[in-house]
């Protein structure tokens, strides 16, 4: 009961921090922190499932989040007129050929005897396959990218409601996780960490360079929303009237209203996922997972298929990250591949899980909110601190200028410090595993 009080208290503190932001800074900033906090909490939930409950070290969170973002574009953007006719068929054909080449290589690897002949056959197949793939793909890509490159120049999406993109984002991430897990967990030794790190970079590289897919670094903007537009609300007399009744001006009211609608959607997803995660972990499946984690040898001796369980939990955790990624891109209404940085999307999520408490879903959620709050607020706090430090210095003194300019970089330093302090003095996190 005591622990319960403490945990509720911890969540209350985060709530108060967000409320304080509302009172001291602006309510828009506060609700934005809340929204991104909800998304961060979902990401942390996914990583916690993998690390906390199965000891799997996923440092490619960024890749799964980005795949979710890609799903948003592919599902909800309107199809580019004429793009599919111009080059879409070739692109699809090329992708099928590419996949067929790899499948054939895998089949050869399985079917032929080990030796130089097999190696040679595979190399020839892969090299020839690669050139055929490029020969089919390149003209298609050129044709697609030639269509009004300033506005589109890509295949576009299916034009479906954006909410459908969230589960699809999860599916994309799950698919990638299946591929990675199959390969990395299937090796004689486990190489998951480096594999996830690498695949995440590859996913980002693809999204930055394959303009036909998601416009690359030109970004996709104006992704449809699941909520009304502010401008429409401000033009709606009924809304303006109700806002005035609350003593708010229409602009403020509309921006807040939209953000709160998002918050409602995100909260629904978080609660749903949290409930499912808790249920899954209390089930025999979850108990087996923890049994494997605590004593793999014994679990294996009891006939448990450890690799299969690990693969399952890795896919599930990654899918959750994918859903969070799709939600984030929906909130931003744009996909900017160059904004995906490992520090922000992989390692920060790890800080959330460790600080919150690995192995405890509520801990991960708390960590998500708290660390996101810090991530946002350390910058103004750092500036404040630097103002105080440099108060005694004359204006224009080089050190003062430098300190004030560099205050923005306090953020990374603080995240590292928080992580190390928690690991040192409270290694099981704020809400430890029971």
């Amino acid at each position: 009961m005591n622990a319960m009080v403490k945990n509720v208290g911890l969540f209350a503190i985060v709530g108060v921090l967000i409320l304080l932001t509302g009172f001291l800074q602006s309510w828009n900033a506060a609700v934005l922190i809340l929204n991104m906090g909800l998304i961060s909490a979902i990401m942390a939930l996914g990583v916690n499932l993998q690390w906390g409950f199965a000891g799997l070290f996923n440092i490619g969170v960024m890749g799964f989040v980005a795949l979710g973002g890609l799903a948003t574009v592919l599902v909800s953007m309107p199809p580019t007129e004429g793009a599919f006719a111009a080059g879409g068929v070739r692109v699809v054909l090329a992708l099928v050929l590419g996949a067929a080449t790899i499948t054939a290589a895998v089949l050869i690897h399985g079917a032929m005897q080990k030796g130089w002949l097999r190696t040679a056959a595979m190399i020839v197949l892969l090299v020839v396959g690669f050139f055929v793939y490029r020969a089919v793909l390149d003209p298609g890509v050129a044709a697609i990218e030639a269509i009004d490159p300033a506005a589109t120049g890509y295949l576009g999406g299916l034009g479906l409601p954006v909410l459908i993109a969230w589960p699809v984002g999860g599916l994309f991430a799950a698919g990638a996780a299946w591929l990675i897990g199959k390969t990395a967990l299937g090796l004689r030794s486990d190489y998951l960490a480096i594999a996830t790190l690498g695949i995440a970079e590859i996913i980002i590289a693809v999204m930055k360079n394959e303009d036909w897919l998601s416009r690359g670094v030109k970004n996709v903007i104006g992704i449809p929303r699941p909520v009304p537009y502010e401008i429409d609300l401000q033009g709606d007399p009924g809304f303006v009237e109700r806002a005035a009744g609350l003593g708010l001006d229409p602009v403020m009211a509309s921006t807040l209203y939209v953000k709160l609608l998002y918050a409602g959607l995100f909260l629904t997803v978080l609660v749903l996922l949290l409930w499912m995660a808790q249920r899954a972990l209390a089930s025999p499946w979850g108990r087996m997972l923890r049994a494997i984690r605590d004593n793999e040898v014994a679990a294996e001796a009891m006939g448990k298929d450890v690799k299969r369980r690990h693969l399952q939990v890795f896919i599930l955790g990654s899918a959750i990250c994918g859903i969070a990624g799709a939600m984030m891109t929906t909130l931003d209404s744009q996909l900017t591949p160059s904004s995906y940085q490992p520090l922000r999307f992989t390692f920060l999520v790890w800080v959330m899980v460790i600080v919150g408490g690995s192995g405890n879903n509520f801990g991960a959620v708390l960590g998500g909110f708290l660390i996101w709050f810090l991530w946002v607020q350390v910058e103004p706090m750092g500036r404040l601190l630097m103002d105080v430090i440099t108060a005694g210095m004359t204006d224009g003194y080089w050190l003062k200028v430098h300190l004030l300019e560099s205050a923005a970089h306090m953020r990374l330093f603080t995240m590292g410090l928080v992580l190390l302090l928690v690991l040192r003095f409270n290694p099981r996190g704020l809400i430890p595993e029971k």
């Binding site: 000891g55 799997l56 070290f57 030794s189 486990d190 190489y191 605590d294 029971k434």
Partner: protein, 274 residues
């Protein structure tokens, strides 16, 4: 595992964590000081009671000793605490009662590392060589704490184990099981120990190699170093032993000279298969 905040949650990822060569939980370093305690045998673990860490007691009032010029052998059934008794003498166990005395000093409080400096040579049962290093480097590492010229000692060891001289520039991990054991014993001898302790030196080697290893051990004993040895192959071990201890469930069951024990009806029936 959830109780251990510094545990690995079952993570086996070799791309981030190196599982090889990590130390056991037993602390090899630090510890107390030795005090004078003259009299008694050259090395004795007297009335030892204790276990690993906070775990249950494995040894119960167990006494093991060896004197100058002797080979003492600890035998007994599986799980009798043979290796544990030897580790207790070497300081890798938490003793709750009893003493260990070496050469007129009480060394009960010393760490294993300090006991090596006091003149104990210990050859663990497994992982007893530096597999990636050459035979010669293994011997050099054995002499790590020596500040004097140890080339003479190395020559003596090459004379004792001629095969090692031939393989001196080969990685020790590439040698056969019997040769690895010779490297391990040679490494321990490099400190010029006052007493040599061997934990099942013949484990996992073929009978022919086993005979050769026993011959080598006798050769070592002839150089004047007392030897304390744990052995699975009780009959052969007792044949070369001056003194034998039969342990059962962490306590002394029988002790006497090797010959006496071989002749003892009870011992033969229970432990030597008739």
């Amino acid at each position: 595992m959830s109780s251990d905040p510094y545990g690995d949650r079952g993570n086996k990822d070799v791309s981030i964590a190196n599982p090889r060569g990590t130390g056991s939980a037993a602390s090899m370093q630090g510890g107390g000081t030795a005090s004078l305690a003259p009299g008694g045998p050259f090395l004795i673990g007297e009335s030892m009671t204790g276990g690993y860490g906070k775990g249950p007691d494995i040894l119960h009032d167990c006494t093991i000793s060896v004197d100058k010029g002797e080979i003492a052998v600890i035998v007994g059934p599986n799980g009798a605490g043979k290796s544990t008794a030897m580790k207790a003498v070497f300081g890798m166990l938490d003793l709750r009662a009893g003493h260990v005395r070496l050469n007129g000093e009480d060394i009960t409080a010393l760490s294993p590392q300090d006991r090596v400096a006091k003149g104990m040579g210990f050859v663990p049962q497994t992982n007893n060589i530096f597999a990636s290093m050459t035979v010669q480097e293994n011997l050099e590492m054995g002499a790590f704490i020596r500040t004097d010229d140890y080339s003479g000692t190395m020559e003596q060891i090459y004379d004792l184990f001629p095969i090692l001289r031939d393989k001196r520039y080969q990685a020790a991990g590439e040698l056969s099981g019997g040769q690895r054991q010779q490297v391990a014993v040679g490494r321990a001898l490099m400190t010029q120990p006052k007493v040599l302790m061997l934990d099942e030196p013949t484990a996992g080697v073929s009978p022919i190699v086993m005979d050769e290893l026993f011959d080598r051990i006798i050769d070592v004993a002839r150089t004047g170093i007392p030897i304390l040895m744990v052995e699975q192959n009780a009959r052969q071990a007792l044949e070369i032993a001056d003194k034998g201890y039969v342990l059962v469930q962490g306590a002394n069951a029988y002790s006497g000279t090797g010959k006496d024990l071989l002749a003892d009806e009870d011992v033969r029936k229970s432990f030597l298969g008739g």
